[in-house]
């Protein structure tokens, strides 16, 4: 089944008949079976699905972190599929931002240095106005000289968000960003992500298995057994949960 939400002319990220197969012979695992999807600019999309549904694999393939077995992936104007290491590096530098479940901050750098790390790697100067906007949005101005160990989990994740935002990427991929947070910190981070989409037109693709988190998104795409099986526009926690329940039943039989 193909997700039908491609009306907007320009998608920030696009998957076209993507297949991903791990291993071969007996040990062969098909993680994605011909997934096609478009993620529009300036929207907050969540990818959901039970464990093993292929949601993380889809995100890795979209972000150019993993290669696809068949099909093509594009980010903005760039076709990701077939890019070499230097092309992928450039893509990650200029067009993609990441937010991880484990925050993944460098413990030796201060919050500010962590936020500016992608720019310094690329050898660019931050846009001061945008930097100030980002810092104020994440509310970390008084914490900039602290090291990650001196910050709470929620604060660390906000630093990670700021790091992803500061280079104004085409799309930010968030991998279970609230997975390691208590519900209040999680809500803070999700609010913040939603605001950056609404106020600054940022595109975000988030993988999650938490219906409450998915409810913050503009749209939810559901995966099961490597295929897109459903989607919701303007979801609420209840509608997401209902859809999940429907998906879980056949998946468990399949296992």
């Amino acid at each position: 089944m193909t997700a039908t939400v491609g009306q907007q002319a320009q998608a920030a990220a696009r998957a076209n008949d993507v297949w991903k197969v791990y291993g071969s012979g007996e040990a062969q695992v098909i993680a994605l079976r011909g997934v096609s999807a478009e993620f529009e600019r300036g929207r907050f999309t969540a990818i959901m699905g039970p464990s093993g549904s292929g949601k993380s694999t889809l995100m890795h393939c979209l972000a150019g972190l993993d290669s696809v077995t068949r099909g093509t992936v594009a980010i903005g104007e760039t076709t990701v599929t077939g890019l070499g290491d230097s092309g992928l590096t450039k893509l990650r530098r200029d067009k993609v931002g990441f937010i991880f479940q484990q925050f993944n901050l460098l413990p030796t750098l201060t919050a500010k240095e962590n936020i500016l790390l992608p720019l310094s790697i690329a050898g660019r100067k931050p846009d001061p106005a945008w930097y100030d906007t980002v810092i104020d949005t994440v509310g970390l101005r008084d914490r900039l000289d602290h090291r990650p160990a001196q910050l709470s989990g929620g604060q660390q994740q906000r630093v990670a968000c700021a790091r992803a935002l500061v280079s104004r990427p085409e799309v930010i991929f968030a991998d279970e960003p609230t997975g390691n947070l208590d519900s209040r910190s999680g809500a803070e981070v999700l609010n913040f992500l939603r605001n950056s989409v609404r106020e600054h037109g940022q595109t975000i693709v988030m993988v999650t298995h938490d219906p409450t988190a998915a409810a913050y998104a503009d749209r939810v795409v559901f995966l099961a057994d490597g295929e897109i099986v459903s989607e919701l526009i303007e979801p609420t926690a209840e509608t997401v949960l209902d859809t999940m329940k429907k998906l879980d039943a056949p998946a468990e039989v399949g296992n």
Partner: protein, 851 residues
């Protein structure tokens, strides 16, 4: 990026300290060698500049046989006294003084023993009065034939005072002679000796007779220029007057020439030290490689994150290399500083040993600085290159997953190891079989290096069965079993740590095999061939070998029970213009009877006054056969023509050329330097030995020993050499121990969570420590085992190649090897102490929560 690298480096400084220390030690060796040799070199310069400071122009006769510094002291050809008058006639000459100055004036101390200088010559000279340099501290100059003056440090060593009778052995008198000490002199600047040289001053006629062997002759002429005449002009004028038979040099030239030959020796010494530094650095390279590999593995997630947020592979390589540069720079600075300290200390010790060499200021030559930084940086960066490449291949996706580092197959590394080992073996074979077309030493060294690297690459494969076997010893306890499993779980890491230890142990074992085999072969040959029960000889303490009164030979012959006595003389001579060691025997029949020589042509039992014998290899190399005539120039006298009358089979114990005993009077030392006494069958050695000893009362430089003691004394030099090499290689082993500590410490850090878990489920502190210790012991014993095997192999290969040189017996030092393995076990226990304590102190709760 730059900043992130430096910050992460600072955060991990403890982990890098040990590997940095390895570079520090290696660099210390390099800079220490340069500082030491530079300081000594400049000290010698100033010694010689001082010694010749009062000479404007110096005149000597051209030497008949040139002798290099390594072969011994140059003996000056005597200058007739008339030459002094000729020099005086040259315009511009203010004064010309005939100087007697020759090695071989040996003072006998108040305890009856000869005072040795341990290196510098012991000069016998004529007294020409005080000068700016020479100042009498006590008494007066010698006036009568039986009066002498000696320098202060010699007087102190001999414990003699002005007015006392002092025995002196001189170059041309076979027995000691007693003199009255009438004065003690010192040198300007309140020095007691110049560079440890012992000096004895006689009246001029006595000095001529005893030190030159000719009346009215001098060793050199010291010329002082009149005011306004430059040294160079005067030199040229004197040279023109005297003609080509004389060497005329300015004082500065003489000083520079004298220093140059010593400096050649120093630069050779420097190269040897640098060779050992190279070994230490090779081991250090292994250690750095390992540290960086482990650090990269531990930082996988961090590096993947960098990649995910846009760092290119090249930037990752750059960041690891930058770390290496920082470590290398800091280590180079510290190593350079430590090297300057060590070099200064060694120079100071050397100065003391060499009898009060006044040291020039400690100098840091440019070579030391450049060498330190080049070596420190290059080694660190090269060692970090492989881990850097590996780091750049970490996929960005590793930032999101717990990527279990897969057990990479050992196929590639094993193939590479086999190839490299193969190259090493081929190079060794080429080098040792003499097919390396003039590049023998570089080829052999290259072969050894390749062999080491090759074996190191093969080590991961070898480590599995061997470590399992070694570990089986400890498997009776749970910690022992865990330790064994831990040491086997990362074969590459275990292997490279063990390989670092292997290098040091292999070299020590190899050298021991070679030297023991050489010693054994020579001893066996000597035992089999030398048919003399007693040997007269002495330990050489300077450039001149000890000698004794030839009259002792005849008197020994007359002792009851003595069947044959042979006195051996030797010197460098020119044969058809080429320098060669020549010998003379007081009794030519001894060649067969005592030394077991076998004739291959002609007659070797008789030797006429113009005949000579040569060994078979000399005959081949110089294209001589019975009946060939050879022009022979000895140290003294005119050149003479000898006819080859016989050829004997060459062996380790035969001389290349044997001249008749009558020729020995023109040798630099016209006295026997060794005596061999063969006893009649049935005579007891113990009966004759004390009688010979009594005969040697006036020749205190030598003593008589039975054959076994003599052989032991001769091969004893090899023991000294072995000890020195072992001390120098000890540094490489120390660095390897640092490597074991480092690997264990990093492993403990890496396994914090696992150790916490083990503690949580009931492993006691002591058991934790036991586990780490077993791991260390297994690694170090494995390394030592590899070293012993590889070293024996290398040693055996060299011994095999030296078969033609007379090293026929391969002797494997089993005892030594056992000691090395035992030491390795102790090293393992010691290396484990700190990491084990650290592991035992792990906070259980914190460790389990550790991410």
């Amino acid at each position: 990026m730059f900043r992130a690298t430096l910050k992460s480096l600072l955060a991990r400084k403890v982990r890098l300290i040990l590997s940095g220390l390895a570079v520090v030690l290696g660099v210390m060796f390099v800079s220490g060698a340069f500082v030491l040799t530079d300081t000594l070199g400049r000290s010698f310069d100033s010694v010689f500049a001082d010694g010749f400071s009062e000479i404007d122009v110096n005149v000597t006769a051209k030497p008949k046989v040139e002798v290099s510094e390594i072969e011994g002291e140059q003996t000056a050809t005597p200058l007739p006294a008339a030459v002094v008058d000729r020099v005086k006639q040259v315009p511009g000459v203010a004064s010309a003084t005939g100087i007697v100055n020759a090695d071989g004036a040996r003072v006998i101390g108040s305890n009856g023993k000869v005072i040795t200088s341990f290196g510098p010559p012991q000069l016998g000279e004529n007294w020409t009065g005080e000068s700016e340099l020479l100042q009498l501290r006590e008494g007066r100059g010698p006036q009568a034939d039986d009066e002498i003056v000696i320098n202060k440090s010699l007087a102190t060593a001999a414990k003699v005072q002005v007015g006392q009778k002092v025995g002196v052995l001189t170059a041309f008198e076979s027995k000691k002679r007693d003199f009255t000490l009438v004065g003690i002199l010192g040198y300007s600047g309140d020095r007691d000796s110049i560079g440890g040289v012992n000096e004895v001053f006689f009246t001029t006629p006595v000095a001529q007779r005893l030190m030159i062997g000719e009346p009215d002759a001098f060793s050199s002429i010291t010329v002082r220029a009149a005011g306004g005449v430059s040294d160079e002009t005067l030199r040229d004028d004197v040279a023109r007057t005297l003609g080509a038979d004389y060497e005329v040099k300015t004082g500065e030239q003489v000083a520079a020439d004298a220093a140059a030959s010593l400096k050649e020796g120093l630069s050779f010494f420097n190269k040897i030290l640098l060779g050992f530094a190279a070994v230490a650095l090779l081991v250090g390279t292994f250690l750095i490689l390992n540290t960086f590999s482990i650090i990269v593995a531990q930082r996988t997630r961090e590096l993947a994150l960098m990649r995910a947020i846009g760092a290119s592979g090249r930037q990752i390589i750059g960041s690891v290399v930058l770390e290496a540069i920082a470590v290398g720079l800091i280590a180079s600075v510290l190593g350079l500083a430590a090297g300057i300290g060590v070099g200064a200390l060694l120079a100071f010790l050397f100065g003391k040993l060499a009898g009060g060499l006044t040291l020039a200021g400690i100098g840091v030559p440019a070579a030391a600085v450049i060498g330190s930084f080049a070596v420190g940086l290059v080694i660190t960066v090269v060692a970090a290159l492989l881990p850097a490449l590996r780091a750049s291949r970490i996929p960005p996706i590793a930032a999101m997953q717990d990527v279990a580092t897969p057990d990479r197959p050992l196929t590639k590394v094993t193939i590479a190891g086999s190839v490299v080992t193969g190259i090493g073996a081929v190079l060794l074979f080429l080098g040792l079989s003499g097919n390396a077309s003039g590049q023998t030493l570089p080829t052999i060294l290259g072969g050894v290096l390749f062999a080491f690297i090759g074996v190191a690459l093969l080590t991961p494969l070898i480590s599995r069965p061997v470590v399992a076997l070694l570990g089986a010893i400890f498997s009776w306890s749970v910690p022992g079993k865990l330790g064994r499993l831990n040491s086997g779980r990362n074969p590459r890491r275990t292997a490279i740590t063990a390989a670092a230890l292997m290098v040091g142990i292999a070299l020590v074992t190899g050298v021991t095999v070679i030297l023991d085999s050489a010693k054994g072969s020579i001893s066996a040959l000597a035992e089999d061939t030398i048919k003399a029960e007693l040997v007269i000889s002495g330990a050489q303490g300077g450039p001149r070998p000890p000698s004794f009164d030839p009259a002792v030979l005849d008197r020994a012959k007359a002792l009851p029970g003595v069947q044959m006595v042979d006195g051996e003389y030797g010197d460098m001579a020119k044969l058809n213009g080429e320098s060669t060691w020549v010998a003379a025997s007081s009794d030519i029949a001894s060649l067969r009877q005592i030394f077991g020589a076998k004739p291959t042509a002609g007659d070797i039992d008789r030797l006429g006054p113009t005949q000579m014998l040569v060994s078979s290899d000399t005959a081949t190399s110089r294209n001589l056969s019975v009946g060939s005539t050879v022009n022979v120039q000895l140290t003294r006298g005119e050149a003479r023509t000898y006819t080859v009358s016989g050829i004997y089979e060459a062996s380790q114990l035969t001389n290349p050329v044997t001249l008749p005993a009558t020729a020995a009077k023109d040798f630099a030392i016209p006295q026997p330097i060794q005596g061999f006494i063969q006893l009649a069958p049935g005579t007891r050695v113990g009966d004759v030995q004390p009688q010979v000893e009594a005969l040697l009362a006036d020749s205190p430089e030598v003593s008589v020993a039975d054959r076994a003691a003599f052989i032991k004394q001769q091969t004893g030099q090899l023991d000294g050499l072995l000890t020195m090499i072992q001390i120098l290689l000890a540094l490489a082993i120390v660095i390897a121990v640092l490597g074991i500590i480092n690997t264990l410490a990093l492993s403990v850090l890496e396994r914090t969570r696992e150790l916490g878990l083990l503690r949580a489920i009931g492993l006691r502190r002591s058991q934790t420590m036991g586990m780490i210790t077993v791991e260390a012991v297994v690694i170090s014993v494995f390394g030592a085992l590899l070293g012993v095997v590889v070293g024996s192999g290398l040693g055996a290969a060299v011994v095999e190649a030296l078969k033609d040189e007379g090293i026929t017996d391969l002797i494997l030092p089993w005892g030594q090897m056992g000691v090395f393995l035992g030491l390795a076990a102790i090293i393992g226990v010691v290396a484990a102490v700190l990491p084990a304590v650290r592991a035992a102190r792990i906070n259980v709760l914190g460790a389990i929560a550790h991410d």
